[in-house]
Subunit: 119 residues, 2 copies
């Protein structure tokens, strides 16, 4: 019951997922984010470091997040936090992901009818 979701499927969803977590938690560090995704998805999504850090660095370069370095137990820890601009972008990305989920749900219905009105 812990079948991992394949990499192809995940491609493109990881960034919005990271932004969602940052929006809910105000301040998180990289390692924490991977652990959270692992737990929330019940082991079905593995956010690898090779995927995560480039995402975080890109978000910083784009002014979506700002960072704060702290030293905890002699280990460097980099906290990420959304900027006001980042919060706005986050909301957009999350809305888009929600639309995506809804649309997939329609397509996955047993016998999707063409032109069915859902309102």
């Amino acid at each position: 019951m812990k079948n991992k979701i394949s990499a192809e499927l995940l491609k493109g969803s990881l960034k919005p997922i990271v932004m969602k977590l940052l929006k809910e938690n105000t301040r998180m560090y990289g390692y924490e984010i991977t652990q959270r995704v692992e737990k929330l998805s019940q082991g079905k999504i593995s956010l690898t470091y090779g995927a995560l850090y480039p995402i975080l660095h890109k978000l910083e370069a784009d002014g979506i997040v700002i960072t704060e370095q702290e030293n905890v137990n002699n280990r460097t820890r980099v906290y990420y936090q959304l900027t006001p601009k980042g919060t706005k972008k986050s909301i957009e990305k999350i809305n888009e992901l929600e639309e995506f989920v809804k649309t997939l749900a329609i397509l996955l219905k047993p016998n999707p009818s063409v032109g069915l009105c859902t309102t």
Copy 2:
């Protein structure tokens, strides 16, 4: 209300969507598939030909589908149909996509609790 879902998000989902349609309709041709996806998704998903035909050719090469060419109004039409092996694969892919949708839905909940039991 017709905001297209971005390409990044779609990446990886298109193949399972095609397999789902083939499973529900026994026999479809390429052009028909793009039109169906467009309608079912209410314009939110555009399955381009540059994406579709490589997918269909790959499915054929992998023994997931067999093809039949027909001539309709002097235009060649290539019908695609799942093989028994393809039907099995289809069911797997669709299940995986369903898992994916469910998992994303959990992650998108307003304040996802860690370790929440969903059974």
